[in-house]
């Protein structure tokens, strides 16, 4: 390399030479294009998928520990009511559990008890299935929801067992097509409630277990009422008749969310909660979810995912590189005479190396550039057509592009050396 100008004209020459065989150069580049494109696209899709998962987990709150009541399996159930056709079971978390957790486990900020009951909500002639959530006033501070209109349940509602409720906006839209829902009165299980607010749950609780049998509709149709009102109006025992059998379930709390003062307490509190609950529950009729752990798992999974996708994409890049090397070797053979002439006219070995290396690098970087463009478009198309979230990270673009450049150099060195080490006399005589 004598100077910049000479290098630039070598680059120009390389481009010109490659343009001489457009189809061949294009096909050769295709390998790199696919490689780069798949690196970017795969990482974008992987990144998007794990981002979605992480968002869902984060919405559960990384400071929280979620404990849910679970109906114990059939065989271990205590048959306390064997008379006639029917059964009554008692399971799940209790108010005592909540207060014990709050008072004994260090680092607990507060405990949010929740009762979940599937019912039907009625406003004049419109009747819709809904999920009644009996809870306390600080629900919005633990579960991420947006207050759209009015207010949430207040502490005084709880104290006075007020018949007030807060609706999720999508339920309200269906229930009140023509009215302003605020201050309207709705009816659930024969009791009237006043609507005081509208909210939107950010994290749609699709995974929340339904009380009683699942009826399929787990959409955003929550009705929030004060816990005390819920206890007073619905009681703790739910009776269900199917044909001749009567099944009753007695559950005090369906779910409780333990908010820790800091996420550092979460991991120490998790086994403590577990131990405490085993002491007071004969069966394992609860389930503990630690979002922080899920988050860690999701991150580990994502790392694995990225490695797997990345190596698949890297293999395709290497295959592309081998394609380039193959073509360049054929090129060297085909252009032996040219090499001889260039050597005779004063070209040094390193000039020949530079020339061929530049050609390979132009091929691979050209392919890399096209690959980056295609690789950015593919995730957008995927998002548009399947609704899957994709995230194109700048580092994946930089990585794919620099690998393509490196491949040009690595796979170009051998053909370039082969070209330069030709004997000029032999090369000139070559037909």
């Amino acid at each position: 390399m004598v100077n910049y100008q000479q290098f630039m004209s070598t680059v120009q020459l390389g481009i010109k030479t490659l343009l001489l065989h457009k189809l061949r150069s294009g096909l050769t580049m295709l390998g790199i294009i696919f490689g780069v494109c798949s690196v970017i696209a795969m990482l974008a899709i992987g990144e998007g998928a794990s981002f979605e998962a992480q968002e869902r987990i984060k919405a559960l709150g990384s400071n929280n520990i979620i404990v849910r009541s679970v109906k114990p399996p059939e065989e271990s159930r205590e048959q306390n009511n064997t008379s006639g056709r029917g059964s009554g079971i008692r399971y799940g978390l209790t108010y005592d559990d909540a207060s014990r957790v709050y008072s004994t486990i260090p680092g607990v900020e507060r405990v949010l008890p929740m009762r979940l009951i599937r019912e039907r909500i009625r406003f004049f002639e419109i009747e819709l299935p809904c999920q009644v959530i009996g809870t306390l006033s600080f629900y919005p501070e633990i579960v991420s929801i947006d207050l759209l209109k009015g207010r949430f349940i207040a502490h005084m509602d709880e104290v006075y067992k007020q018949n007030v409720c807060v609706l999720t906006s999508s339920l309200a839209q269906r229930l009140f097509p023509y009215h302003d829902p605020l201050e309207q009165t709705i009816k659930i299980a024969g009791v009237y409630y006043r609507v005081v607010g509208l909210v939107r749950e950010i994290n749609t609780p699709g995974d929340r277990p339904q009380s009683g049998e699942s009826e399929g509709e787990t959409l955003d149709n929550n009705v929030y009422i004060p816990l005390s009102t819920c206890k007073a109006r619905f009681g703790e025992t739910l009776v269900k008749r199917t044909g001749n059998t009567v099944n009753s379930e007695t559950v005090q709390l369906h779910e409780m969310r333990i908010q820790m003062k800091d996420h550092l307490f979460v991991e120490s509190a998790d086994p403590q909660v577990r131990t405490m609950l085993t002491r007071f529950h004969r069966d394992v009729d609860y389930e503990i979810t630690v979002p922080l752990q899920l988050l860690r798992q999701a991150e580990a999974t994502k790392r694995m995912f990225n490695i797997v996708l990345g190596s698949i994409a890297a293999i395709s890049l290497i295959v592309g590189g081998i394609g380039i090397m193959n073509i360049m070797l054929a090129n060297v053979t085909e252009r032996t005479r040219e090499i001889g002439v260039r050597r005779a006219l004063g070209g040094k070995k390193r000039d020949i190396i530079t020339q061929f290396l530049v050609e390979t690098v132009v091929l691979s970087i050209g392919g890399g550039l096209v690959g980056v463009v295609v690789g950015v478009i593919v995730p957008l198309v995927v998002t548009a057509s399947t609704g899957m979230q994709t995230i194109i990270t700048w580092w994946s673009v930089a990585l794919a592009f620099s690998i393509s450049g490196a491949i040009g150099v690595v796979f170009g060195i051998y053909p370039a050396n082969a070209a330069a080490s030709l004997d000029p006399i032999e090369a000139l005589r070559h037909e």
Partner: protein, 244 residues
């Protein structure tokens, strides 16, 4: 001749090792000296060492023994890079099959030797255009070799051989691929160059081509068999070239 010769070859040998212990002596103690402005033809049957001589003269090969002084430099012992450099600065090549570079235009082909001396196209443009005009291709600067006839391609090659202002032009059967008419034109062009003071060394097996030289060196079995003086330097050349 008063001045020192520009090419002085003394006792040069070139040995090829074929297989394990078979050695072939392609050149066995050749002495040649060529002066500035001379027109020398080298002739000989195949296997006479003619090609080996050409390669050595063109600094494409190194002798196994002996010395080769080219314009005051001993090139016999030079390394590969220095030889490239000498070829680029001191020698102009004209090949039988033109050997233009397919992807370059006429102008760019002419510029190649200067490119390897680190000169940009902008710096060498004027000179290249002048030479293209000299060989009568001033109108075809942007043509590609495959758009030119054989005679035109050889003219480009001649322009290219001149671009670095070489000590000697080394022509290897320059008319071998041409029909007799264009062959004559090319030889006339070479004659003109010689008249302008260029030193020409031409390798051929064609007597009519060799007729134009001042001196013909006949080679045989790796030796200089005899030297034939056709005319003295400065004496008008004989226009006797005819194709068989």
């Amino acid at each position: 001749m008063a001045e020192d010769p520009i090419i002085k070859i003394e006792g040069i040998e070139r040995k090829y090792v074929m297989g394990d212990d078979i050695e072939v002596m392609a050149l066995d103690g050749v002495n040649i000296s060529i002066h500035q402005g001379e027109y020398v033809a080298i002739m000989g049957p195949s296997g006479s060492g003619k090609s080996t001589m050409l390669n050595l003269l063109g600094c494409l090969d190194r002798p196994t023994a002996g010395s080769y002084w080219l314009g005051g430099e001993d090139v016999a012992k030079m390394d590969d890079d220095s030889l490239s450099d000498v070829r680029g600065r001191r020698i102009g090549f004209i090949f039988q099959s033109y050997n233009l570079i397919a992807q370059l235009t006429v102008l760019e082909n002419i510029q190649v030797p200067l490119f390897y001396q680190g000169k940009s196209m902008a710096e060498s443009y004027d000179r290249c255009v002048k030479l293209a005009n000299l060989v009568g291709l001033g109108e075809r600067l942007t043509h590609r070799p495959n758009q030119l006839s054989g005679g035109q391609q050889q003219r480009v090659a001649i322009a290219r051989s001149l671009v670095n202002d070489p000590l000697m032009i080394l022509a290897d059967e320059p008319t071998g691929n041409l029909d007799s008419k264009t062959g004559l034109e090319v030889l006339d062009l070479i004659d003109d160059l010689n008249d302008d003071g260029k030193t020409i060394v031409l390798v051929t097996h064609d007597n009519y081509v060799a007729e134009r030289a001042h001196r013909v060196i006949h080679m045989k079995d790796g030796h200089v068999d005899r030297e034939e003086i056709k005319r003295q330097a400065g004496e008008s050349r004989q226009k006797v070239y005819k194709r068989r």
